[in-house]
């Protein structure tokens, strides 16, 4: 990365220094920048890992995230007089359901018509972005009708923070989710069968008597749920409102997070924090050294390609998928 920056004419040392500081330079940076950004990445990464294990490509996490954010905001803004734990649960629940609903169309298209979920989930991303725009300039717009954003959500729906930081309870949720998925994959029959469906669908059907269509559908639904939940957590823990570009590409970074962790739930926590650090640092890098934040995408892409090449070299591994040239 240093070489690339030099080539592009930036002062690599200063840029990388700014990156590091932005991510890990202080306790505040660690908790309020890195870990806060890690939460949606971990949740989405878990969802993508879940889908990949079942042999499905969910490239629509970005759209599901927005669907969850919209639902969370709608509920959060319309809650009146509801006390705190219930409010948060309602917001999170709505977000999760919205995420499932957003992935339901691609799932149905795949089961009923055999449409590649890659394309359908991808297209729905664009629809979701337009929907957010529509919402914040229409039904969800703030009372004064000046800015394209929603009213802030009710106090009761906002997540408790670690004192002195902006780190919210959603972090614990992400950790819990990772542990739950780990248990599911490593210890349960269902988790094993999911892996069988993803690795050898024909054998899973014939020898395992597994209904592969159903497993893939459930995996995709879970994937959408996690991505939607990530949107709800972001609204209730960070932004407290809905506006465009709420997500700096979490849905795509999540793919890198999942792949680099080789689809292992506990690994996803680590890679989620790593990429959270990258994005936290990227903001600082842009501020202090002038390197455009969007350059981080290149890093993510390189990570993905390196993982692919390494696995291709070994011709094995959970991600050396069925779709190869």
């Amino acid at each position: 990365m240093a070489g690339g920056l030099q080539l592009a004419g930036y002062d690599a040392a200063a840029a990388l220094g700014a990156l590091w500081n932005g991510a890990f330079g202080s306790w505040y940076a660690l908790t309020s920048s890195t870990l806060v950004r890690a939460v949606p990445l971990i949740l989405i990464g878990l969802g993508i890992a879940l889908a990949f294990r079942g042999g499905a490509f969910n490239i629509g996490a970005e759209g599901q995230f927005y669907a969850g954010a919209i639902a969370a905001t709608w509920v959060g803004v319309h809650l009146a007089g509801v006390s705190s734990p219930l409010a948060i649960i309602s917001v999170w629940g709505a977000a999760t359901l919205a995420g499932v609903a957003w992935v339901a169309v691609p799932v149905w298209l795949r089961l009923r018509f055999g449409v590649l979920e890659v394309i359908s989930t991808l297209l729905l991303n664009f629809v979701a972005e337009s929907l957010v725009s529509l919402m914040v300039q229409g039904p969800l717009q703030e009372a004064q009708r000046i800015y394209p954003q929603s009213d802030p959500i009710a106090e009761a729906a906002r997540l408790p923070l670690l004192p002195g930081t902006r780190l919210h309870v959603g972090f614990l949720l992400a950790l819990f989710g990772a542990a739950a998925l780990w248990y599911l994959f490593a210890r349960t029959l269902w988790g094993f069968r999911l892996r069988a469906v993803g690795t050898g669908p024909r054998a899973a059907e014939v020898s395992g008597r597994i209904d592969t269509g159903r497993f893939t559908a459930i995996a995709l639904a879970g994937s959408g749920a996690l991505a939607g939940l990530a949107g709800g957590v972001e609204v209730s823990g960070v932004s407290y409102a809905l506006f465009q570009n709420l997500s700096p590409g979490y849905g795509f970074t999540g793919i890198a997070v999942a792949l680099l962790a080789r689809l292992h739930p506990l690994g996803v926590v680590a890679t989620g924090i790593l990429f959270g650090a990258l994005e936290a640092g990227a903001g600082a890098m842009q501020r202090d050294a002038g390197v455009p934040a969007v350059a981080v995408y290149v890093v993510e892409a390189v990570v993905i390609v390196v993982v692919l090449l390494v696995e291709a070299g070994r011709r094995a591994g959970p991600v050396a998928g069925r779709v190869r040239a």
Partner: protein
Amino acid sequence: MVVGFLAAAVRVATPLLLAATGETVTERAGVINLGLEGIMLAGALASALGATEWGPWAGVLSSILAGMVVAAAFSAVTIGARSDQIIAGTAFTLAAIGLTGTIYRQAYGVAGAGLALPTLGALPVPGLSRIPLIGEALFTQPAPTYLALLALPAVWWVLFRTRLGLALRATGEAEAMARAAGVRTRWVRAGATIVGGGFAGLAGGTLVLAQVGTFAEKMTAGRGYVAIAIVVLGRWHPAGVAIAALLFGAATALQFLFQSLGLAVPYQLFLMLPYALTLLALAGVVGRVRAPADLGKG
């Protein structure tokens, strides 16, 4: 007004048609290139850079070259190293978004400065452009539209009337069998991918030089993915792809029609409409349509 609508439809359809024609060749050889979106973007930026230095036609050439180079890199990763095409394609698009954004700011300063580029104007075809209705809609378009129209029969002929085309189709249907017949399948696939990349790059260049007139980050807005859907809708055949692209262009041009009719509909609905329509069309068609049997397989 109808003429305006038709002309708009053709204009919108042109980059889609170019990208989809290229992707048809690629997918007929068995490779699915999700990096198409990124390649279009790369082509768009390359055309802006080329046009700034040496004029619009240099921009066109740069866009084709950029597309081919990126596609070559994609081939190296997926065909050469045999990695997963879909994941690699997504990664390449990500990288393209990042790289084009970075290079654009380096080259032209802070984002937001509206860049005015020398563009390709409408080129009326003598004689044909005077046909009522179709003449104005179809034959008074900038050059890339004619390139797209010429490419269609050319691609058809190569695919279905030459040995190379037969070898390419065999590779996409049954790679192992084609290899048994002596076809150098990896080279065929790589070549088809690079050709597809050239078309996609040109599509990006068309967006910049013949439509918008400037470059903006992420300006392709999913057109690359729509092009892939158009290949499916067109059943991997140049004629079908042309019809599908035109239909899509018409669907998008509807918003201009509505606007000129004075109907007040939130513009976001028009933004969503093409994608939603594509999904519907895919559902209606895919059940009865057969992809090249070895598409995406190693």
